[in-house]
């Protein structure tokens, strides 16, 4: 059933709030009072609730079933985390109220920092990045700040990025003023070490660093990682690790031990803060000894007199005096996604050091189980075990006339959200399946049964798949039309 837009059902005279009547006093707006209404439609509360509840039912969600989007890590969102985030002591405090009145909030930040540092083995963490890509930006900006300090910022501009990387990696490097050089992938889905070596031969005085995802976007652990780190360090560069897949190794491997200089952590992936249809994220970024002092504002310190936590908010020479801090600047107003910090800390304390290790292990076990169950029907992209996600190519669809997208849409009719498709780019017609640790074996079996059935239909060339889905709230949507004639907002029909 179609749900109309608020613009079709609301009116500018309707409102779902009751406010006291204004007193009607003279304004002090300096003649800038609005002359025209906004035109915004209002709904009464019953209408508004119904509108959004009905719309919600048009969504698939992790609470409804397996959500196997590879590299997105859709896991169960514990409701305790939501409850804690809504405690007035966290939800109803202002970032600029006197710091003595928010010591509990700063303790939350301190405790989360402590966990993140210990889990990664890193000495410092910048908490303010607002999402994973923002954390990448923070890490690369810290490298840039270090290069400024070294007087090499104008010369060291080359950043190596594997071709299998998330698009955010090259985009971030460029946003931070670097130039991107691609590294080829090896046939086993990892960085081609020879290609890397070749690119680091000779003059490396232009090398700023490398951006590497590990486990990588093929769901594989970069087994040469230590050698790669050494190579980049020898070349005078820094090792940025994209921590998007940290959930596969948390509690089992510390990135510092691998030679990492900076790594962002997607709190929503590893520590289960809710995705909410595309955000908010949170991307705290851990930094090595070499980069620690460049962490951005605000910087948290402890007041030596009374042990209180204190945030240095802005570039203030007086405040920084006596420290060796050289903040790279500021990522955003205030100090990051506090609401995600409370959720992540709640999740972390619930799991503990033992539970987090189990999280990684179960995530990897689940992915390998899927790979094992499907390998005879579909085409695993690479040999051997995977980490937290199983990657298949479209080789098994050869000559069937069916494409990866059809498999995806076919899975919708099976009652599932599809896997990630056509990513990573290094695998043809890629299908990347990440079940996470919060799925039961029974659920995995049902999912594999469904995917197997769709794959078999596809192999047999079942034309019906090309029109799937049939059972979703909508049929296939025309994305080309949307891009060709963008309609990005509602407009009143002309009279």
């Amino acid at each position: 059933q179609k749900e109309e837009l608020i613009f079709d059902i609301g009116t500018t005279e309707t409102t779902g709030v009751d406010l006291p009547a204004p007193k009607g006093r003279k304004d002090r707006l300096g003649g800038l009072k609005r002359k025209n209404g906004t035109g915004l439609p209002g709904l009464s509360e019953p209408q508004a609730v119904r509108h959004y509840v009905r719309l919600s039912q048009k969504n698939y969600a992790i609470d409804l079933g397996l959500f196997p989007l590879g590299s997105c890590t859709m896991k169960h969102n514990p409701r305790l985390n939501e409850k804690v985030a809504r405690m007035p002591g966290f939800a109803d405090i202002h970032p600029l109220q006197p710091q003595q009145t928010v010591q509990g909030a700063m303790e939350v930040i301190e405790q989360l920092e402590d966990w993140l540092k210990k889990l990664t083995g890193m000495p410092a963490v910048a908490m303010s990045p607002k999402a994973g890509a923002h954390g990448e930006w923070c890490g690369m900006a810290a490298i840039r700040a270090a290069l400024i300090d070294r007087g090499e910022v104008n010369t060291r501009t080359r950043v190596l990025v594997p071709e299998s990387a998330h698009g955010t990696n090259p985009a971030t490097a460029v946003q931070c003023g670097f130039k991107v050089q691609e590294i080829a992938a090896s046939s086993d889905g990892r960085v081609d070490l020879n290609d890397l070596k070749a690119k680091l031969e000779g003059d490396t005085s232009d090398v700023a660093g490398i951006m590497l995802t590990n486990p990588n976007t093929c769901g594989l652990f970069e087994r040469d990682i230590r050698e790669i780190a050494d190579l980049i360090h020898e070349a005078g560069g820094y090792f940025y690790c994209d921590g998007a897949n940290f959930n596969a190794i948390v509690g089992r491997v510390r990135p510092r031990d691998l030679g990492v200089d900076a790594m962002h952590i997607n709190l929503h992936k590893t520590f289960s803060t809710p995705h909410g249809g595309g955000g908010p994220g949170a991307g705290p970024t851990v930094l090595s000894e070499r980069l620690a002092k460049y962490a951005p504002y605000p910087v948290m310190t402890v007041d030596k007199r009374d042990g209180d936590y204190k945030l240095i908010y802005v570039d203030d020479e007086a405040e920084l005096a006596g420290t060796d801090l050289k903040p790279l600047g500021r990522m955003c107003a205030f100090h990051g996604q506090m609401g995600m910090f409370t959720r992540a800390l709640t999740y972390i304390l619930s799991h503990g050091a033992d539970g987090l290790k189990q999280v990684a292990e179960d995530a990897v076990l689940n992915a390998n189980y899927i790979q094992a169950r499907l390998k005879s029907v579909m085409s695993p992209a690479f040999e051997g075990y995977c980490m937290h996600e199983a990657l298949f190519s479209d080789a098994f669809l050869k000559d069937s006339g069916i494409e990866t997208v059809d498999i995806a849409k076919g899975m919708i009719d099976e009652g599932y959200h599809p896997m990630t498709v056509y990513f990573p780019l290094v695998v043809h017609g890629a299908m990347l399946i990440e079940p996470t640790e919060t799925e039961s074996k029974a659920e995995l079996d049902r999912f594999c049964d469904s995917l197997e059935s769709v794959a078999r239909k596809a192999k047999s060339g079942d034309e019906a798949l090309k029109q799937a889905p049939y059972l979703a709230p909508m049929r296939r949507l025309d994305e080309t039309l949307a891009a060709r004639k963008p309609v990005l907002r509602w407009l009143a029909e002309e009279a």
């Binding site: 698939y60 109220q97 509990g104 607002k130 190794i249 990522m331 990630t420």
Partner: protein, 448 residues
């Protein structure tokens, strides 16, 4: 572990199916020296809900909430009342626990709300188009600066002294890595127009804020004209979106890109985040716009629906040539914004904005009447600045002892001696007449 469904039996069976001895097999690519054997030391083990809830409650109890007494802190985040139904909506499993709507056939709930959001933001700001939201107001501002540079192919950005210090720093940090020159004018209570003199032929944009960080409301029209005369853009910033319910929208004053913080509508103070950045612009700039955008289309049966669109601007397609590296929006916060705005409608928003302005007028009246207080903001929406003979930090601490959280000392944002005695104070519909009287009384006593 309550969040882990696999039983020991399951694990054993699955390993058998896989043909692995133990999960250690899966980690064989990890260099041996880096393999951890047991749980990481010096960290506690798992705890039940009761224990964790107690721990977090104890931390929460150490904070003083904005509802506990008279509270006048603003400067980019505002204490407003959010209807309970908004939280119900964003806690719907189907909204809370879904992902970016990559598969539009089963994500129309998210997509339609994003379309409603974009439309609301465009209407509010008086602009032609808006995106699906940014991280927050400050990053929206830095993205707007970068966008202006791309659109004009120029590399110089002028930021007024009325722009929130954090916003200005965020803009500078983001721009400088790309070799863009950022000129930040000295803080000024009511001089957005100082920007006019800085519009040159190499200027990508002027960035003005209204209401500015001190509270002053400014007519942006002459600034826009000055910018346009040099083929530069005007980027208009706001930190209090409720102001748009009462003030002429930037779109009507000639702004080319409008950015701001949407927290006030639908979202709690939350100690600074997550918030929701609003970004709207002229139609002609749409392909330079960063971030996610939702558009209308039709499905195979010809029925109308929504999809993410214009993704050729984005990093997952364009990689190193993308307009930005952004890959999320502020999904849930934007939904909260949209739901709250839908409850308000034009009528409710206008009323809310009027109540805010009247509260600030009452506050200004009450404080101005006190000996030693000088109001520094002639025009304002819901926030004012005032100066006293006392250092602002000490003043606020003294007010705090009397139970009043009186605002932000300007020197916290701008560490400059000439602002040492300045307080920035906001009033909203949550501030009662009694609270305002209590503020005045406390201030009178402190200054006596």
């Amino acid at each position: 572990m309550r969040y882990l469904p696999l039983t020991p039996d399951d694990r054993a069976q699955m390993l058998e199916t896989i043909g692995a001895k133990s999960v250690d097999d899966f980690y064989q690519d990890v260099p041996e020296f880096a393999r951890l054997t047991g749980p990481i030391e010096d960290l506690p083990m798992h705890q039940g809900e009761l224990a964790v809830e107690r721990h977090m409650s104890a931390l929460a109890a150490k904070n003083r909430t904005a509802s506990e007494g008279p509270f006048f802190v603003g400067c980019g985040a505002y204490k407003h009342h959010v209807p309970a139904s908004v939280d119900h909506i964003i806690q719907r499993s189907e909204f809370l626990t879904t992902y970016t709507p990559y598969q539009p056939e089963i994500a129309q709930g998210t997509l339609q709300t994003v379309f409603e959001f974009q439309s609301q933001v465009a209407m509010l700001t008086g602009m032609e188009v808006a995106n699906a939201s940014m991280y927050d107001g400050s990053t929206a501002a830095s993205e707007a600066a970068l966008m202006a540079c791309r659109a004009t192919r120029r590399k110089k950005v002028i930021v007024s002294g009325g722009v929130h210090a954090h916003y200005a720093e965020t803009i500078r940090t983001a721009c400088e890595t790309q070799g863009i020159e950022v000129v930040i004018l000295p803080p000024a209570f009511d001089d957005e127009k100082a920007l006019i003199g800085y519009a040159e032929d190499d200027t990508a944009c002027l960035i003005a804020q209204s209401p500015n960080v001190f509270g002053t409301v400014t007519d942006l029209t002459p600034i826009a004209e000055a910018a346009h005369a040099k083929k530069a853009l005007l980027v208009s910033v706001f930190t209090e979106v409720v102001s748009l319910g009462l003030i002429t929208p930037p779109g009507e004053m000639g702004a080319d890109i409008v950015v701001g913080e949407g927290q006030s509508i639908g979202n709690p103070l939350g100690f600074g985040g997550p918030y929701v950045g609003l970004l709207a612009c002229r139609q002609k700039l749409v392909r330079q716009m960063p971030g996610r955008v939702c558009g209308q289309t039709i499905d195979a049966d010809g029925k109308g629906g929504f999809v993410l669109t214009l993704s050729t601007r984005e990093q997952h397609i364009r990689r190193d040539k993308a307009t930005s590296n952004i890959c999320t929006n502020a999904g849930l916060c934007a939904l909260a914004f949209t739901a709250h705005m839908t409850l308000l409608g034009d009528k409710g928003l206008t009323q809310l904005a009027t109540l805010n302005h009247e509260a600030a007028c009452d506050l200004a009246d009450a404080l101005e009447a006190i000996d030693g207080v000088t109001l520094k903001t002639e025009t304002f929406f819901n926030e004012i600045s005032f100066e006293t003979p006392m250092e602002a930090g000490a003043l606020l601490a003294a007010l705090d002892e009397k139970g009043v959280i009186g605002g932000v000392r300007a020197s916290r944002l701008f560490p400059r001696a000439d602002l040492d005695n300045v307080v920035i104070a906001a009033a909203t519909e949550c501030n009662t007449a009694e609270g305002i009287a209590a503020y005045a009384q406390a201030l009178k006593e402190v200054l006596a």
